[in-house]
């Protein structure tokens, strides 16, 4: 099962390697990973999406919590949390097809970020499923390039 692990860590070199090492050392492939500083520039927030056995990941979470420069870790899977992902997708849209692509984007609330002669670049913020749906529908038009941030998540307060 897929787990979304969020970690508050010291904003220092080597921390990412420690966190990733604990996960990859068990042969688990991290599906997505996002790191950025928080409101306190000494701290960063990591969101890690990793598929794996529940029991093993519970163990990993506890071991991550023990790392000196990890401040707090929690597994958000099965807990109330908010998650979002940003995607930038460049899709073929020659003049004749452009209206169709833009219309499709509008259905998903995606924005046109840039227009080229033969393609448009769309940006969309959403949850994983909605983004996947958009990409499926764009595919027949010819996707040229994709960049996704990976999921970022915060626990929801009470």
């Amino acid at each position: 099962m897929k787990h979304v692990i969020t970690a508050l860590v010291e904003n220092q070199p080597g921390v990412l390697a420690r966190v990733v090492g604990l996960i990859s050392g068990r042969g688990y492939n991290i599906e997505s990973l996002n790191v950025a500083p928080t409101q306190d520039p000494n701290m960063s927030r990591m969101t890690i999406k990793v598929p794996g056995d529940d029991h093993v990941l519970e163990q990993v979470t506890r071991q991550l919590n023990k790392l000196v420069d990890v401040i707090r870790v929690s597994d958000l899977t099965g807990r109330r949390h908010l998650s979002r992902e940003l995607v930038l997708v460049d899709v073929l849209a020659p003049a004749a097809k452009r209206a169709e692509v833009v219309q499709l984007a509008a259905l998903f609330g995606a924005r046109v970020a840039s227009v080229q002669v033969r393609s448009v670049t769309l940006e969309m913020v959403g949850d994983e499923d909605t983004i996947s749906n958009l990409l499926t529908l764009l595919k027949p038009h010819g996707i040229q390039d994709i960049a996704r941030t990976g999921e970022i998540a915060v626990a929801r307060g009470g």
């Binding site: 090492g21 023990k66 420069d69 707090r72």
Partner: protein, 573 residues
Amino acid sequence: MKTGAACVIDGLKKAGVKTIFGIPGGQVLDLFAALYHAPFEFILTRHEQGATHMADGYSRATGKVGCCLVTSGPGATNTVTGLATAYMDGIPMVCISGQVPSHMIGNDAFQEADTTGITRPVTKHNYLVKSVNDLPRIIAEAFQIAASGKPGPVLIDIPKDVQRATMTDAGATRQVIRQGKQPDLKGDPRRIRALADAINKAQRPLLYVGGGVIAGDAARELTALARKAGIPVTTTLMGLGAFPETDPLALRMLGMHGSVPANKAVSECDLLIAVGARFDDRVTGKISEFAPKAIKAHIDIDPSAIDKSVRTHIAVLGHVRHVLKALTPQVRAIRRTPWLRQIHAWQKAYPLTYERNASDLLPQFVIEQVDAVTRGNAIIVTDVGQHQMWATHFFRYTRPRTFLSSGGLGTMGYGLPAAIGAQAGLRDRTVITLAGDGSIQMNFQELVVAVEHDLPVKVIILNNGCLGMVRQWQEMFYKSEYSASQLGQSGRAKNERIRSTTNGYLPDFVKMAEAHGAVGMRVSKNREVQPALRKALAIHRPVVIECIVRPDENVYPMVPPGASLNEMIHSMA
């Protein structure tokens, strides 16, 4: 203002370091220059692996944080086995390594290695020091991290330019260890209450005790609990000495080569209380059949140890000493006569034994004689293999920190340097290292260090001419095909045959001992053992006693790999 190197010396002084083990090299010359006038005993080892095991043995014997100092590149990579050994067994140690100058890092400079990268998985924490102003904080923190919570090794990698730089801002020491990272020491009182209730209700309770009780300095509290509530005690390899093995409640070691009463008690108990132990696979055997009838309780300081391999019903997170202190007054002194009667019946029926009337010399006999001659008062340090297991069977440990052994990693070559480290920390104690003829050769060079520093360790080599534990598994599970396990020249597989230049066994350990400046002796008969031991103990110098023992003796009892603790093999017959 001070240089980085002077900061390191100051930091070590503040941390209470008395002895440092290590080897110099190009990138630590500044540290060694500062060390030249420093008030530490410096022990120059012959290999960096030796330095780490010495720091480890020093730590296990004294309870203080061991310290070693090595150069960059190969100096640092040679510490990996020693760090991993200490990491697996939770031994506090600080290792300082030199690094190439900051501007050269990543350039494949001479003797450069990514030391923090390489040691990350085998240390509790490590540092690459980037500014001289961080050094005082980092040194203090490293000792704190090494010794707190579940202890472990910490490495500090210091580039040469940082050692040479002058401090500009002594006050720049932001504390990085946050409040929230301090483990809860006292334990949740409600859970302690729940555990006390479970103990009071249990008919067949059992204490399963690990190295955490020794690390946590809680042997007295544990013994008080066991004796008050009348609970039998079994220990892991790391827990030997946490409970006196001379006590009627002592079931001795459990697990793959544990005692039959201990393993039977695990299989029959209705409450298993793990204290500072981690349910290692060599302890549990087949995990699904481990303590199948028991409610499982676990007291540990390490949150990641709880529920790792065995799901527990009652978990108390905290320092074992604090938790035991709070627990004991809440348990009742109950006489569980049927359970204790059963335990004593097992103890009577299944003593740890061997062929006592053998005409040839048996390794078990030698170890029993060591126990007899030292009256159980020695610090026993082992290497890894058959002799290590026999050392758990035929020597009775009564005090903590008297059995030092590489439990988790199983590092051959650990024994001699660890014994030297232990002796360096406790000069008045008798320190004896038991080794096989295979493992002793992995760090024999360190014997010179014992001679030089007047550390009178006694080295007992049980020479069976083979890598005994490998040979035993090959006999039991690999059709008696002794692939690469024969150290003598006979009995080797065709593709390992060597042109025989001598008819004997190589090397000659007596000559080796003498060549290193120690006393060498050889015994091959039962009656020679006691006199040799007495003579060795009377000499205030390092002594090597080579004992020529039966080559094909096996360690029993044994739980075959993957079997449950109930399925013990008692002998090949």
